[in-house]
Symmetry: C2
Subunit: 476 residues, 2 copies
């Protein structure tokens, strides 16, 4: 590798960008705020898509596709929604060479266009629930690009469901949050804290928003998924009523929920090291690379024969890279695949052939193991499974170590400034106190966690009574 990844300790932000650019995960595009997702990065998105899509279908959802362009008048129908999203939209004013009569907004999210259609499709209780998801691109104007984390256009999925009752909508909102949590932990190996957003942080147009929050290696928080109970807000804005079994008309209840290509940024920042990307095995399209090592022609033949046998055995189950490129040295190959985060590397040299073993190096620990050739498929499977589990546990330990209970505002300010991390503190529920913390420390309430025990305490800002700690952190 010509370039070298900047170490995390030297410059965390450059470290991140180096991994993305040198690992060929994404690139800047000539349009400000836009990115290009390169094949290595898109392969991760495909793993996210295929697994989440399966989980959505297992919970009864189907996919559909709604238009990219939303008439300005639709955007304006839900008051909070237009206020939240309008300022960051890209707007089409010319179509087919003509000035348009009505401006069209590139969707920043699709509630409005979808509820305009639901009005056509929902008549009776028989049409409910309607459980639709969409995989799409959306646009929220940005000038300062942060690859995967902050770009004008990004890819995501957005679920939009319609229900007969509030309770059903609430159940759906929580069911999906649980799908997101399971996916983050079991696939991305990122532990997350599920909870509720404060009023200030909720989705524009929602009754309330639930989220999962993850800690990155710089101890900042990253919101890894949100699920909104929209109540009857959009049904009222678009006049979507249904006839119940008794013939009575009522407004429909709604939810919406989404995760985006941001998750790739989260994946990078949760696990990677100074050598480059570290991919959890379940997120790797190609989890294994074999690198044969030889000098002489005699060695070459013996090593390649042996290595090809290993390759044949492993590719029964895995998409294996067999890196026999003659123009590159082993060390160069090691660096390249480490940079790209391939979970398991198998090295095979003349001595390994002699001893009928291989060298196995796991990307997360970088430990070398000599393992016997016999039963190699099972051994590789065991290593991949162990790695997946240990990555989650390592991230969990890191997060827990950097989560502190703080009861005093001066300490809070000192800690958030020096150490960072998740600070669990009491909050009275007042938006003024929340705003003050943000103004003075840049930390925000990431969530009011579900799993936090009730506990009597005093608001860290105003000293008023509080019954529960919330999570404050600086965030992406």
């Amino acid at each position: 590798m010509a370039e070298k990844v900047t170490p995390r300790d030297v410059d965390y932000s450059r470290w991140y960008t180096d991994i993305v650019l040198q690992g060929k995960l994404a690139d800047y595009s000539p349009v400000k705020g836009a990115m290009v997702i390169r094949p290595n990065g898109y392969a991760i998105w495909e793993m996210i898509q295929s697994n989440l899509d399966r989980m959505f279908k297992e919970t009864g959802h189907v996919n559909a596709y709604f238009p990219l362009l939303i008439p300005e008048s639709f955007m304006q129908k839900e008051a909070e929604h237009v206020e939240g999203f309008s300022p960051e939209c890209a707007v089409v004013t010319i179509g087919g060479g003509q000035e348009l009569e009505e401006k069209l907004y590139i969707r920043p999210t699709s509630e409005t266009i979808i509820w305009a259609m639901y009005k056509k499709w929902i008549m009776s209780y028989r049409d409910l629930p309607l459980l639709i998801n969409q995989w799409a691109n959306v646009m929220r104007w940005e000038m300062r690009t942060r690859l995967f984390l902050r770009t004008s256009e990004f890819l995501w999925q957005e679920g939009h469901t319609a229900h007969a009752t509030y309770d059903e909508a609430e159940e759906e909102t929580l069911k999906i949050l649980n799908v997101y949590k399971k996916f983050a932990e079991d696939y991305l190996a990122i532990p997350v804290i599920p909870g509720k957003k404060s009023e200030a942080e909720k989705f524009a147009g929602a009754l309330h928003t639930y989220c999962i929050e993850a800690m990155m290696q710089d101890k900042k928080a990253l919101q890894a998924g949100t699920s909104h109970n929209l109540g009857q807000n959009f049904a009222k804005a678009f006049d979507v009523q249904f006839q119940d079994k008794d013939g009575k008309l009522s407004y429909v209840y709604a939810t919406s929920w989404g995760v985006s290509t941001r998750l790739i940024g989260a994946l990078i920042m949760a696990h990677s090291d100074d050598r480059g990307l570290v991919l959890p095995p379940k997120m790797a399209q190609r989890p294994v690379v074999i690198v044969p090592i030889y000098r002489s022609d005699d060695e070459k033949k013996a090593v390649l024969d042996f290595a090809e046998g290993v390759y044949r055995e492993l590719k029964e189950k895995y998409n294996v890279i067999f890196d026999d490129r003659p123009q590159y040295k082993p060390g160069y190959k090691f660096s390249e695949w480490e940079l790209q985060g391939i979970p398991v590397r198998i090295e095979i040299g003349p001595k390994d052939v002699e001893k009928n073993n291989v060298v196995l190096v796991r990307r997360d620990t970088m430990e070398k193991q000599f393992i016997t050739r016999v039963g190699i498929l099972d051994k590789v499977t065991n290593e991949l499974t162990a790695m997946q589990g240990e990555m989650l546990e390592r991230a969990r330990k890191f997060r827990d170590k950097n989560t502190l209970e703080i009861d005093e505002y001066n300490t809070f300010k000192t800690v958030i400034d020096s150490e960072g991390g998740f600070l669990k503190s009491h909050w009275c529920g007042d938006a003024g106190c929340e705003a003050k913390v943000q103004e003075e420390t840049k930390a925000t309430i990431r969530c009011i966690p579900f799993n936090e025990a009730d506990e009597t305490g005093k608001c860290i800002v105003c000293g008023k009574e509080s019954t529960k700690r919330v999570i404050f952190a600086k965030a992406y």
Copy 2:
């Protein structure tokens, strides 16, 4: 079903729209020219995507994602390209509340933005070939919507490859055309004619365009996929040169190729009947429906027990619909699943339970068969396989019957007006003759077919010498 599908004979165009709307495949959106792809239609697109994506990967391609918005200056770099696409673009002039300095075009296709990136990524012969595909939405302004066939926004895949030599690019162009042909025939059960487009019909910016052409049931042609050899046009427009093994700089050779959600329109028009959609089994996410039939409670228990056994056996292999909805009569259910094109229906009534058999109805032939319960999984598999093959053969016979060799221009005009179909006629290669036919008959040259034997003849328009017949037809 409250509504009824208009028969093809009565009004072909309404028949098509009825199938799309009543089968809940797609719907009109409030924005002119835009459509909504509903879950039943999107499920077909998912089958197209997953199969084509696998075929692309098997031939060495990877996926990536490029920005939706293209700067106006990029569009203008390739002269033919801008002339072809600019007039039909949607243009963003406002972003984040500000008038933009440079207009941004919603991609009508992505050659320009992709080649701007390839300039950054391609330095040496080691970077070639670059074999990238993208699944994306694109926009070409339309006021007259025809669901799936003609809409402003549509979904597609676009491959964009870069090569060191003309020959390699040409090989790629043809390789992909062959992937498209195989997919159309083996999966969509639509026979296609591969060939070359005339200069007038080629892609704006290509050296030449290859295509596959299919015949619909109204005997009109539908272009089901195109593959372009772009030569060095885009490499020159974006100054993309590479250093070969000898250190010499040369412009890179390019191809691009795509198929879109139009294929769903083709699928509908190739196979469906007056009852609704007919789906080839390989395109059906849910290929089997079981409908239990009973009157009394005694019958109900026996029938449901038996039917559930059949369901359990079949769902080992297939995504089976078990339609035991008590509120609908069997006849209603039959109509609904026929409309949606489910390939195989299994009816189970009290007499079937007694005789240990089931009734199987294939959607394409609508023939009823009594089959024994034992070994039902194999029997269903056999029926689905047979159906897939017979649908292709039926479509092929229909096309061949409606393909005529015509040598006289007056006959040509009469036939194209009365019968339609594919007319194989001699053409001298002159654009004037081609334009005259189009003006006088609305028929265009669909392709210069690969598999047509050389034959001396006279141009149907001007009488000049010709060496080969080409295919004329009216087209979608």
